[in-house]
Structures are given as structure tokens and as C-alpha cells.
């Protein structure tokens, strides 16, 4: 029971810190806008091509924006060794992981909403028809990405080159998410029958479950000295 409180406490703390300074979210949203602008402007996409490029643009943007968030998430913890401060309390390291992970998920999701709205305007593309499927795909794609990003963020925070180290660790492992999410998003936006991209969605769900559980179990080792 106590561990559920810990998850919530850590999550609420991250949200409160973010609410105070609003730095991370602002950074993530601005960076996301810049990327979508660059893609949209330089590719000069027609409406037909938008169906092909939009999923790629969205997920590449989400990926980079996420990296920013994960790095910031652990920079705040490092400042006064706050992660160690948490470890002084009788808490399950996995609960700390889940709290941090949920906060990262929330921040990335908010940034994604902003990115999608802007992309919808610039690409002159309506997400309304496929909204349900798109939200479902984005949910699990983001969950899997954040699951890995949170544990790797904590690992990278220990290294000398933390900001650079994180994408090097994260991107190779996130390849199945990129492939799965881009394929599924493409299918959903084209209005394919759900059966045609259901496998990709299943892949995302399986990836999310496996890596949330695995990271939950391994986080203990990341925190010890």
C-alpha cells in the first residue's frame, strides 16, 4: 500500500516542480514546434504525401522531444543528490521508477498534443477521423518509449557525458517503437481497416509491458552505489 503512495508522491513532486518553473515543458514544446516546422517547410509536402511523411515526422519529433524531457528529469534529481535523498527512505526503488516514469509520460504526452495540433494546421490534415486509433497508438508508443527513456535517463545521469549519452543508449533500443508506431500511425491515418495495423499496435503494447516490468525490476541496480 505504501509503495502506491510512493509512486504518487514522486509523480506529484515532479509535476509540482514542473509547475513551479515550467522550464522543461516549454523547452519540449518549442523544440517540437521547431522540428515540425523544419520538416514541413523543407519537405514542401502535398496533401497526398502528407499521409506518407506525417507519421515519420511526428514520431521523430516525439523521439527528440522525449530525450530532452528525460535528460531534464534527472538533471533536477542530480542537483542536490535528490535521488539519494529518496533512497534514504524505506521505499521500493521500483516505485521511484514508476513515479518518475509517469511524470515523464505526462510531460511528453502534453508536448505531443501541442505538436499534433500544430502539425494538423501546417499539414492541413485532420486527425479527427482516426482520432481514437491515433490516441491509442500514441499512448502505447509513448509508454514504451518513456519506459526505456526513464531507466536510461537515470543511467546516463551517472556518466560524464550525460546529455549525449542518453540518445546513444535510447535510440537503438527504441527502434521497434519507431517502426511499430510509424507503421500503425500510417495505417490509422490512411483509414485502413484496423485489422491491417493491429499487429503493430500489439507490438507496441507488448513492448510497453515488457519494458515497464523489466525497468521496474532493474531500477534497484541503477540507484545503488
Amino acid at each position: 500500500m505504501h509503495q502506491a503512495t510512493v509512486v504518487w508522491t514522486v509523480f506529484a513532486k515532479d509535476v509540482r516542480v514542473e509547475w513551479r518553473n515550467r522550464e522543461t515543458l516549454a523547452l519540449m514544446c518549442v523544440f517540437g514546434l521547431l522540428l515540425v516546422f523544419l520538416f514541413n517547410f523543407t519537405l514542401e509536402t502535398t496533401h497526398e504525401e502528407a499521409l506518407r511523411t506525417l507519421p515519420v515526422v511526428l514520431w521523430v519529433t516525439f523521439a527528440f522531444v522525449g530525450i530532452l524531457g528525460f535528460n531534464r528529469s534527472f538533471a533536477a534529481e542530480r542537483e542536490n543528490s535528490c535521488l539519494e535523498g529518496m533512497m534514504l527512505a524505506p521505499v521500493d526503488p521500483g516505485a521511484i521508477y514508476l513515479g518518475k516514469m509517469l511524470a515523464n509520460f505526462l510531460f511528453l504526452a502534453v508536448a505531443e498534443v501541442v505538436v499534433v495540433i500544430v502539425a494538423s494546421v501546417w499539414y492541413n490534415f485532420s486527425f479527427v477521423a482516426a482520432l481514437g486509433w491515433f490516441v491509442l497508438i500514441a499512448f502505447f508508443g509513448t509508454l514504451g518509449y518513456v519506459a526505456v527513456g526513464t531507466i536510461f535517463g537515470a543511467i546516463a545521469a551517472n556518466t560524464r557525458m550525460r546529455e549525449v549519452m542518453l540518445p546513444v543508449l535510447q535510440f537503438p533500443v527504441a527502434v521497434p517503437i519507431f517502426i511499430g508506431a510509424i507503421e500503425a500511425t500510417g495505417g490509422a491515418l490512411r483509414g485502413d481497416a484496423p485489422g491491417q495495423f493491429a499487429n503493430w499496435l500489439k507490438l507496441l503494447v507488448a513492448f510497453s509491458i515488457v519494458f515497464v516490468v523489466l525497468s521496474y525490476l532493474l531500477f534497484e541496480y541503477v540507484l545503488e552505489e
Partner: protein, 236 residues
């Protein structure tokens, strides 16, 4: 400790086996009809790839065992396998284009095997980079073991997603896979070469593990150098 095979014998066996493999690759195996001489790189390319995957399996095994037992020896196995595996994996990525260009007319294609090998290579790189940025050895061992385990779980997903992706996006029609209708002499050459590569891998791994162990023992000796401070007095 009794060794099944001394390092020197192992070196000689490896060398001999490699010569046999070379003989078979260039003189024994028949010339492939459509691809010509260049096809012989196949006997280096494929064994390297298999060896690289074996190496990553050992990285994963060493990582899991290190987290379970906390014995530095397992970490040394994982770290060494990553370094040696990285070399074999690089070999796959170099021989692949060398083979592809004359045969397919392109240096690179994102076919299933090349793609998954490339991701494996990235996993080796990120594992080794992480290690080089960590200072404290026991911390490096633990953190890289976590990365090794996560990476191993990821390889399965990589494989699945790439396979599905390729089946949805048909490749430009290229020659039938090298596995189809293999001449028995070709098969024999492949197997001998594969054995030689695994033998070489095991030899390099042993060398590297020995080096890591020597480094650790040297550190232990250095630690004991300034151990000459006597306890003055211990109260109750």
C-alpha cells in the same frame, strides 16, 4: 585450476582451423554460377554474423549473472564479449556491402538481416560507449549489466518488428537467398568456416577476459600497497 585447453594450444588450433577454412573457401568450394568469385565472401560474412549474435548472447548472459551473483568475473565476461563481438559485427557490416555492390548493384539495402545486424552493432556501440564514460568500476559493471539486459530483451522486438516491416514492404527482386539449394561442398565450407570463426571468437574472448582479470588483480595489489597503518588502540 585445470584448463580444458591451454591458451597456446587454443591459438594453434584456431590458426590451423582458419587455414583449413581459407583453403576450402578459395579452392575447395565451387564457383557460384551467377555471382561469381565474389560470392566467396559469403563464407566470411555469415559466420561473422552468427558469431556476433553469439557474442551478444554472452553479453546478456554475463550481465544477468553479474546482477545475480555480483561477481566481477561475470562482468569481465560480458564486457569482453561486447568488445570482441563488436569486431565481428563490424566485419559483417563491412563484408555485406562488399558482397552486395557487385551482385545487387547497390552498397546497402535495408533487408531484414542487414538491418537487425546494424541494430545489434548499435547496441554493442552504446554498451561500450557507456562503459567508457563510467569511472567507478563496480558502478560501471552494474549499469552496463542493466543496459545489457535491456538490450537483450530489445533484440527480440527488433527481430519481430523488422521481419514484419520487411514482409509488408517487398524488396526489389534480388537473387534467391544464399541458403537456397546450397551445393554440399558449399555447405561444408560454410560449416568449417563457421567453426573456425567460433573458435577464433572463443580464443579472443579468453584473451580479453584474461586481460580484464589481470587488470583487476593488479588493482587489488595496488590497493594493498599503502596498508601499513597500524591501529593505535581500540577501546571498548
Amino acid at each position: 585450476m585445470k584448463k580444458a585447453l591451454s591458451l597456446n594450444t587454443h591459438a594453434l588450433v584456431t590458426l590451423g582451423w582458419l587455414f583449413v577454412a581459407l583453403y576450402m573457401i578459395f579452392l575447395y568450394a565451387p564457383r557460384e554460377e551467377t555471382m561469381g568469385e565474389v560470392q566467396r565472401i559469403f563464407y566470411i560474412h555469415v559466420p561473422s554474423a552468427i558469431t556476433a549474435f553469439v557474442a551478444y548472447f554472452i553479453v546478456a548472459l554475463g550481465s544477468v549473472m553479474y546482477l545475480a551473483k555480483r561477481s566481477p568475473a561475470w562482468d569481465e565476461v560480458a564486457h569482453s564479449a561486447a568488445e570482441v563481438g563488436f569486431v565481428f559485427c563490424s566485419c559483417v557490416l563491412v563484408t555485406g556491402p562488399l558482397w552486395a555492390k557487385p551482385v545487387w548493384g547497390i552498397w546497402w539495402t535495408w533487408d531484414m538481416r542487414l538491418t537487425s545486424t546494424f541494430i545489434l552493432w548499435l547496441l554493442f556501440v552504446s554498451y561500450l560507449m557507456l562503459r567508457s564514460y563510467l569511472v567507478n568500476p563496480s558502478r560501471a559493471a552494474t549499469l552496463s549489466a542493466v543496459v545489457g539486459v535491456v538490450g537483450a530483451a530489445d533484440v527480440i522486438f527488433d527481430y519481430m518488428s523488422i521481419r514484419w516491416f520487411r514482409t509488408q514492404h517487398p524488396q526489389p527482386v534480388i537473387l534467391g537467398g544464399p541458403g537456397s539449394g546450397l551445393d554440399p561442398r558449399m555447405l561444408a565450407t560454410l560449416l568449417v568456416s563457421w567453426g573456425a570463426f567460433l573458435c577464433l571468437f572463443a580464443f579472443l574472448l579468453r584473451l580479453r577476459v584474461g586481460l580484464a582479470r589481470a587488470q583487476r588483480e593488479l588493482g587489488e595489489i595496488r590497493r594493498t600497497f599503502d596498508m601499513d597503518l597500524p591501529e593505535v588502540q581500540r577501546g571498548q
